[in-house]
Amino acid sequence: MLTTRRLGKRYGEKRVLRGIDLTLPQGGFLVVTGPNGAGKTTLLRICAGLAQPTEGTIERSAARAQVGYLGHEPLVYRELTALENLELYGSLYRVPERRERIGMLLERFGLWEARHERVASYSRGMTQRLALCRVLLHEPELLVLDEPYSALDEAGAELLDAQLAELRGERSFLVSTHDPARVQPFASGALALST
């Protein structure tokens, strides 16, 4: 599903990632840990296809349409409603039976009642739930999740746990976190980065 060999990344003179070898098999769940500045976000961005490595190679069997990426930003428009945001992404990802899929996800993440409200009026936790709906909308083969539990309250975190438990084994996961214990029950491997 995803293999990197001696992967590295430099921004000018600054080296942010060096010699990363990882293998994520189909249905695997790899947890990436490390202190701030270790390059977790850079690694995940490269694996999602958002950035190019400056050293080493990456092989990813999932096409761009089959990757779901959750970054530090929710990647939704604040002036649009939750429904309009998901309609936009659903259209771009050619999601079949889009309306039903969007409705199901909004229901599951407790946003159905607020679906016609602009995202600008959402709390940080609600926005993160919407971001998770966006990531899951097109049923990606590879989910790249950067700190997915950030901003979620306990109820939101439990919803995410349930999603991960449901999809574990069917999809491949690359998850960075500062709280490895939280995803330990799902993990099939771990990668610890250091500065």
Binding site: L50, Y77, E79, L88, L92, R118
Partner: protein, 212 residues
């Protein structure tokens, strides 16, 4: 067909954002109206058609620049560019949709600008209207492309005019020429060729502008 649908969805998003935020169009309308009002009182006597034609095109160009400078602001401020870049649509669809949305704002500003110009200065002929329509395409195609390049830099407000204005010189030459000569054919042809050439170049290379 899916390409057209992607462009439609992205352009609809841009129009909706403007409808809600009202960041761009009111600024463009106010600016172009203010330029004509100020010049109406600043130019002594009755300025010649040649002089005011130059003024009209300067006003259109800088009004467009105002819109172009804001074209990628939602993506920059809300950091949604990653979401669009990751989507499986052709990345040129992002450029085309933005260009179409900016074109809509520019046409709306011109619907106010041209009657004001006629009211304060001289009537607007068919050749001028044809030049405006052709120039709009080139302005939006090139300006949106450069706007995407500039938006990721710290000096974006400086960079866009610095990149755009030299590239817009053929538009000014063609548009002013078409507006003042008796046979505007070759100037309109120049504008059409500029549109075609730069639209193809921008469409084909936008992928590299958004790649990290």
């Amino acid at each position: 067909m899916t390409y057209v649908r992607d462009v439609g969805a992205l352009a609809r998003k841009d129009l909706l954002l403007e409808l809600r935020a009202r960041d761009t169009l009111p600024a463009m309308l106010l600016f172009v109206a203010a330029v004509f009002v100020v010049f109406h009182f600043a130019l002594p006597g009755t300025p010649s058609r040649l002089e005011t034609t130059g003024l009209l095109w300067v006003a259109i160009l800088f009004t467009a620049l105002l819109g172009l400078g804001r074209a990628f602001v939602p993506e920059r401020e809300q950091r949604t560019f990653d979401g669009l870049v990751l989507a499986p649509c052709d990345r040129s669809a992002i450029w085309l949709a933005k260009s179409l949305a900016t074109l809509a704002f520019l046409v709306a500003a011109e619907l106010v600008a041209l009657p004001l110009y006629a009211l304060f200065f001289h009537s607007v002929g068919g050749a001028t209207i044809a030049a405006v329509l052709l120039a709009n395409v080139g302005i939006c195609a090139v300006g949106t492309f450069l706007g995407a390049m500039a938006v990721v830099t710290r000096a974006r407000d400086l960079l866009l005019p610095l990149l755009f204005l030299p590239l817009a010189m053929p538009i000014v030459v063609g548009a002013v020429g078409a507006s003042v000569v008796a046979s505007p054919g070759r100037y309109l042809l120049l504008l059409a060729l500029y549109d075609l050439l730069f639209a193809v170049v921008c469409w084909a290379t936008f992928e590299y502008v958004v790649a990290e």
